[in-house]
Symmetry: C2
Amino acid sequence: MRDRIKRVFSLINDDVDTILLRNTGFRNPSFLYLTGLTNGVFEGATAVVSRDGGVDVFISALDQGEDTSNIRFHMVTKKRDFVDTLSRLIPPGSKIGVDGRYLTYQDYKSIKRILPNRGLRDVRERILLARLIKDKREVENIEEACKIASRVAEEIPGMLRDGVMEKEVADEIVYRMKKHGADGEAFETIVAFGENSAIPHHTHSERKLKRGDIVLVDFGATVDGYISDISRSFIYGKPSDKQRRMYEVVLNAQQQGIDSIKKGVTFDYIHSLVYRYINETEFKGRFIHSTGHTIGLEVHDGFTITQGCKKRFLIGMTFTVEPGIYLPDVGGIRIEDDLLMGEGGVRVLTTASKDFEV
Amino acid sequence: MRDRIKRVFSLINDDVDTILLRNTGFRNPSFLYLTGLTNGVFEGATAVVSRDGGVDVFISALDQGEDTSNIRFHMVTKKRDFVDTLSRLIPPGSKIGVDGRYLTYQDYKSIKRILPNRGLRDVRERILLARLIKDKREVENIEEACKIASRVAEEIPGMLRDGVMEKEVADEIVYRMKKHGADGEAFETIVAFGENSAIPHHTHSERKLKRGDIVLVDFGATVDGYISDISRSFIYGKPSDKQRRMYEVVLNAQQQGIDSIKKGVTFDYIHSLVYRYINETEFKGRFIHSTGHTIGLEVHDGFTITQGCKKRFLIGMTFTVEPGIYLPDVGGIRIEDDLLMGEGGVRVLTTASKDFEV
């Protein structure tokens, strides 16, 4: 993890001495990133990350940790000892960096109390910048998560039958991802039939499948903390001409977006291409979200492929490309794949087929 | 929800005018409690809760909300409008209450910036106190979550076979809870075989089942935001005399704890009874955690039945009773049920049978 820590500190200007990360109550992705402790619970653990690449991790008696070349574990039994060690590691006058999205107000107050006379700075944006470029281990986990999601995506047509509920298909998707090796679902699995597919925020309900429905699924697997995120759209029965045209437009828009991604191209350029492509069809104004987002330890791992985002595609980035069209009376179509910007250009990691008719 | 809001404010002294709750990135139980919005995503939503029982909820275009007698929804499209309305609802000089465990540092900084000249106070403890006593709707959801968990607990013996992995049983448990109507698992399902059952923080692994193993499961369902939490222990094959004695002691300790719970009795009194019971057997010192905890919107919903907790059992409380014995060389036994303190005394909500041998 030393390389990651060095990259983060190189992105922060000199006045932050230490990064303090707590894993309280919920999973803190920056804690996982800088400690590499993706295989355990570590609830309530505290990590003190130093400029030299060393990390001190304070854990409860319920967790176990084995020291590595850069991680030293401290079992916290008495609060007094914890405070003393922390004060020694972060002496008065230090400036502490935190991930402001994963530090609670409760913990903030407690840091101010037990570590007075230190500065505090939210370095989340800097950590996110470092997290943009994935290392080998990270890519392997994302690839595995993509492989599992693709495999389940191929199995979805077999789950569709008259009267099956959105919820039943969603449960089956999660069960199969785990069966194929996932630790869990990356986010609440979306299965939307018919009119529900036109609502991007719909998750799943007891709505039953009937002939002529569009089936929109959007789901992903978690592997060792890293996620995948795939969408496929099917027609159950015979598509109308309009549904077929919608599907073709989304498929072509996605392909055009993917084909245009090169090293150095900006995120907003790709979005504008995809957006314009759809807006030049009869479905003008019906693509109502961004073209994609970076993925990693979080589903939205820092940056969005959308208007105004001047980030550039660089080697080692992983992200989605997912145009969609939504018509309240007809349904919605979204096709989403995960990609890696590699040395030899962009590579699609979610290889599930894209047949509209099942 | 007016009653809940009134109860919370009655527990806070006069100097808090408004409670501000954000549902950012993760589910904020206090947001769910005071808005009642357990059936939706509402990611990033902000609730402004007033002393008079009215609530203003700010949501994004991806969510939908229908005004009720006490909730007014505002769709946020422009940040400027959001800030203006917020400033009007919470005028300068006001004192704002927050749930410090679910307010991020990022949001704290943003509140300080867009709402200057207001005080801020962490009222989490007060909200937790109000949440201790469940109303009818809450009890119904917890009962349903308990019913589902109990039903799946009964099915577990049928999942056990030579060579099955802990992970496979865990996945099956989650799948079946959903099939029986749960929204999901309440926490990461624990399935521990043999030596793993002696580690209370173990979740599940690829460890395969063999004859003579203890099987310890600990899981729960979520229903409309509310959870259940049940543990059962089985022996796969023939128990040793020691394993049989362990099981008997835990079962009797639990029964004694449950039988002693009466209105007005303190949490630590029940813990001391259960603790003493086990310590008077050959398994002295092997009960290494608390006797239970309150349940509700969170698995640990505020208070723990343990040494030093002077809280008293009152009508409307829901909680677990879960003694255990852990022997590194033999395995662990834990038996856990969820209970409701009702008008006529305590009632066990998780009714699954407790046969050690399967």
